[in-house]
């Protein structure tokens, strides 16, 4: 095969090596714009597992690379002047130039032709080869030449970052958080040889402007950063080399190949540097592509198809994780109330891939301390060891919920600390369907603590039973009138509700109070008011459902007036020593819905009016509004609400394991978690 590789970064060189290694008859040429010793970005880090794949792909370069690597396993988190160390992580770092020199030498040895200082202006001179490989980085020209087929999308993260070097070797991977008059400066530092480190700095867009980094030249920006991190640099210098402050570009493509052009590494997909896997992804792309050519005997179509088939799920997962990681570093100031131990735990578990159990394997003693501190408020003493977070009681007012596990609608005898009932309608007009319960029975003498859910279906009332689907209105002969904030139907096929008038509001408030009193009389000790799920109270809060012109519509304050009135009245009627929870919609997931800022404000107002806990849900504002489902999809909302509005939360949304729950709790993303119990896999026999 005749192969032209554009770009002599790790992906391009490694692919050239592997192809030449697989068959010396291949004619492989590599073209690179820069000089062989030029490099931008100091060291590269491999933080995602080991480099075993390289060992199998090419022994010779693997040995040279591992010899050149600095290896370490602890991470230091410097925050509030305290350094917290987490051990057991696998990291290695190597100078980028060193890595490229090793790959260049190996390529040369195998007979790859390399041309440096070569500018590519169009694809035409290269496409006569059997295969053209675009390994030309995040700003790939090859990608833009073939954009009509590859369909790339590029969007920019709002924060700014820049790569610097430092003339000292940080002992281990170190995160540094320094607050300045301009705002927070973060440094992610790792050594790449005995005397040098990479320092990737991150600031918000506002901090970048306030500090004047938008105006400063490279030297000015270097000096400013040296001053910010003076304490950490121990008198040493920082180094710059084209260290520009840029927005991270998210690159995704619909496809990575055309008939005979394929793109690899950053050209095809970028993963945020904060999970340190860009280089590893690039090298693994090269391995996968080369292997596909061997397997399919150099036939292009099946090889390129196989390459995408194999790599896309892996890359998607890593891109998603890196997106979460980037988001975390952009918003972590919300955690600045955390103690250093929990702050470090939160940082370590920022993507769903590192769970409580995985962290325990890495550094059992760190997790032991986290658990002990987590249990301290519940037990009143700091023990040497404590049970995992899920088994830590939670005291709310004078009620103790024995553990953090929550089930919806039972069962009562399988160990959950709390079981939330199906919604009871506070009045017959507020029933979802004819079979919606309205009469609250007494709690059972034993089993989980029961939390009675009270609601009013609003414009989603008067439907057929949910067994065959939701939002199926009853035939008009059987229907009863539905009420909402405004006369806007929940779905086009549903009847238009009546606008709730003042008298109606008083009626609804009285019904909530009466239901709460009744619940207390029969012996219940916890209530959940449903201000979510597109019901009556949700319709007041969401701007999509509330178009009122009176003092109950318009501004957020107005839209909250009636829901807060209901909450206040129930709080006044419900015993002071017993907890009251509210289910609330943290995101409408519909155009024109609640903004993120508003949703935090709503949470704060509910807390001020006496809500002790918020069950955080999303979507269902209209019949077609829904979250993006996926593992723990509701947790980021619980996290945001809890740590920005300062309210205790119950997280909900595809939480399926205790390990996930322990992680969520210990990281301070929620105070209780609704577990969706996994069905046993072999559930259905022959039927």
């Amino acid at each position: 095969m005749k192969i032209n590789v554009l770009g002599a970064g790790p992906a391009g060189l490694y692919f050239a090596i592997l192809m030449k290694r697989a068959d010396p008859r291949h004619q492989v040429r590599v073209f690179e714009r820069n000089h062989p010793d030029a490099t931008f970005g100091w060291g590269v880090v491999f933080s995602e597992g080991s480099l075993d794949e390289l060992e199998h792909a090419d022994y010779e370069s693997f040995f040279s690379i591992t010899e050149a690597c600095a290896n370490w396993n602890p991470i230091d988190v410097r925050y509030r002047g305290i350094s917290t160390r987490i051990r057991g992580n696998v990291f290695s770092g190597v100078g980028r130039r060193r890595l490229l020199n090793i790959l260049q030498a190996r390529a040369r040895e195998l007979g790859v032709q390399m041309t440096f200082g070569h500018e590519v202006e169009s694809l035409d001179p290269y496409v006569e080869a059997d295969l053209v490989v675009g390994a030309d980085g995040a700003n790939s020209l090859v990608r833009s030449f073939a954009a009509d087929v590859l369909r790339p999308s590029i969007d920019l993260a709002p924060s700014r970052y820049a790569w610097f070097g430092a003339e000292l070797a940080f002992p281990v991977f170190t995160y540094i958080f320094r607050e300045t008059g301009w705002g927070l400066f973060q440094a992610h530092c790792y050594p790449y040889d005995e005397a040098h480190s990479t320092m990737v700095l991150l600031v918000s867009g506002e901090t970048w402007r306030r500090a004047g980094l938008d105006e400063l030249d490279e030297q000015g920006s270097l000096e400013l950063c040296e001053a910010v991190f003076a304490e950490d640099l121990l008198g040493r210098r920082m180094l710059s080399n084209r260290s520009l402050w840029i927005n991270f570009p998210w690159v995704r493509c619909r496809s990575w190949h055309t008939d005979n052009v394929v793109i690899l590494g950053d050209a095809a997909h970028t993963a945020h540097w904060s999970i340190g896997s860009g280089t590893k992804l690039a090298l693994e792309d090269a391995i996968s592509l080369a292997r596909a050519f061997v397997k399919h005997r150099n036939r292009l179509k099946p090889a390129l198809a196989e390459f995408e088939l194999e790599r896309q799920p892996v890359v998607d997962r890593l891109q998603d994780a890196s997106r979460v990681s980037c988001e975390y570093f952009q918003t972590l100031q919300r955690y600045f109330t955390f103690e250093p131990l929990q702050f470090a735990y939160q940082l370590m578990t920022r993507t769903p891939r590192i769970t409580h159990t995985k962290l325990t394997v890495r550094d059992a003693d760190f997790v032991r301390q986290v658990e002990a501190h987590f249990a301290e408020p519940a037990t009143g003493r700091l023990a040497y060891a404590a049970p995992p977070p899920v088994f830590t009681p939670l005291r709310v007012r004078s009620l103790t919920i024995p553990n953090r596990l929550v089930f919806l609608d039972g069962p009562l005898d399988e160990g959950a600390g709390l079981v939330i009932t199906v919604p009871y309608a506070v009045s017959s007009e507020g029933r979802i369907a004819l079979d919606t319960p309205t009469v609250i029975g007494p709690p059972l003498p034993q089993g989980s603590l029961v939390c009675v859910q009270l609601g009013h279906a609003g414009r989603r009332a008067s439907c057929r039973p949910m067994r065959f689907g939701v939002d199926r209105p009853l035939p008009s002969a059987e229907a009863w009138p539905a009420f909402s904030a405004s006369p806007i139907a929940h779905a086009p096929w549903m009847p238009v509700p009546r606008e709730l008038d003042r008298e109606g509001m008083d009626r609804v408030t009285a019904a909530f109070v009466a239901a709460a009193r009744h619940a207390e009389e029969v012996g219940h000790r916890m209530l959940l008011l449903d201000f979510a799920h597109g019901g009556l109270l949700a319709s007041f809060i969401s701007p999509v459902a509330n178009r009122r012109q009176d003092e109950f519509g318009g501004s957020l304050e107005n839209r909250m007036r009636f829901p807060l009135q209901v909450l206040g009245a129930v709080r006044a009627a419900w015993p002071l020593q017993l907890p009251l929870a509210v289910a609330y919609t943290a995101a409408d997931h519909v155009r024109g819905g609640l903004t993120l800022g508003e949703s935090v404000e709503v949470a704060a107002k509910l807390r001020e009016e006496g809500a002790d806990l918020l069950l955080v849900v999303t979507g269902q504002t209209t019949a077609d509004s829904h979250p993006e489902y996926g593992r723990m999809y509701g947790v980021p909302h619980s996290d945001r609400v809890r740590n920005e509005a300062g309210v205790a939360t119950i997280a909900f949304g595809q939480i399926t394991t205790l390990d996930e729950i322990n992680t969520i709790l210990a990281a301070g993303r929620a105070d209780l978690c609704v577990l969706e119990r996994q069905l046993s896999p072999a559930k259905s026999g022959d039927s």
Binding site: V149, S255, H257, K301, P302, L304, A305, E306, E308, L309, P313, L408, V422, P423, R464, M466, R467, F468, G469, V470, D471, R472, P475, A491, P492, W493, H533, V617, G619, Q620, A623, D624, H626, P627, E628, Y629, G630, R631, Y633, G653, Q654, T656, E676, L679, P681, A682, K683, S684, D686, S687
Partner: protein
């Protein structure tokens, strides 16, 4: 997990004899007979095909995976489905989806821009037609045919959870099925539905001599050419050895699939016999 087999209604050079013989033979060995749908392709109309199957089978369930809903008039679709359900003695499982091609919509004279909203409404209205009995006939199943929704994103998962009895996955390795199934279950709980969603899977298979396998690849390539490159992946995913089929079936069972339907890619009776042997 139950295993069904597809009816060769979209494979090249199929005919009446093969379809009826296939259906009769499948009735004894497979739990269901599945059909696919595409307007601009010479595949047979799914509900008409299932009506024929209903006449020559007694026990296999008849499943569409999936009928493109929005290109059909809802009342008429409800009537057809109720009829097939009646003809089959209550064996219809109606899987519906948006389909993957705009030109099917153009050819049907239906505006594809509103198809998501139309589809959701159609799901609600289908049940309404069956329950209210104004259109008639009443389906044989007292609650109407089982309704499944297909499709890949959260909108599809939400639709399946809110307006259907379950979900039919579009194909892929067990891991892909598992991930979609977990999302459907989450959407189901999110919607407050009682019980659990039914989860169906599907996959292509071809067994036999290299010539048959080459023909299968050719068919899949042609059928999925419109995807612009994705067809090679579908060819790569075709199950072409007994071991691959067994692994796949085991994998789906592990992930909690209720029923997996294996779709033929060659119009030959031996495909069914070979599959029956592999699964025996």
């Amino acid at each position: 997990m139950r295993v069904g087999i597809g009816l060769p209604t979209s494979t090249p050079a199929t005919d009446r004899e093969l379809i009826l013989h296939w259906a009769r033979r499948a009735d004894a060995g497979f739990s269901s007979l599945g059909v696919v749908d595409r307007l601009l392709h010479d595949c047979w109309e799914p509900l008409a095909s299932l009506a024929a199957c209903a006449a020559v089978t007694e026990r296999a369930r008849l499943v569409t995976m999936v009928v493109i809903g929005p290109i059909r008039n809802t009342a008429l679709l409800a009537k057809q489905a109720a009829t097939v359900d009646a003809l089959s003695g209550g064996r219809l499982v109606l899987g519906l989806g948006l389909g993957a091609r705009n030109d099917d919509y153009e050819a049907a004279g239906v505006d594809s821009r509103r198809r998501g909203k139309d589809f959701t409404r159609q799901l609600v209205e289908l049940r309404q037609v069956w329950e209210d009995g104004v259109v008639g006939p009443r389906p044989a199943q007292p609650d109407g045919p089982v309704l499944l929704v297909g499709g890949g994103g959260s909108a599809a998962f939400a639709r399946a959870a809110r307006h259907a009895d379950g979900y039919v996955h579009g194909g892929g390795p067990p891991r892909a099925f598992a991930s979609a199934a977990a999302r459907v279950r989450a959407a189901w709980i999110d919607a407050g539905r009682p019980g659990e969603p039914q989860l169906w899977g599907q996959a292509y298979f071809a067994l036999g001599a290299p010539k048959a396998l080459a023909a299968a690849a050719e068919y899949l390539r042609k059928y999925y050419r419109f995807t612009g490159g994705f067809e090679e992946r579908i060819v790569a995913g075709n199950l072409t050895t007994p071991a691959a089929i067994k692994d796949f079936v085991r994998g789906y069972e592990e992930e909690g699939c209720d029923e997996l339907v294996l779709l033929p890619t060659v119009s030959r009776m031996d495909q069914l016999e070979r599959l029956a042997d592999v699964l025996a």
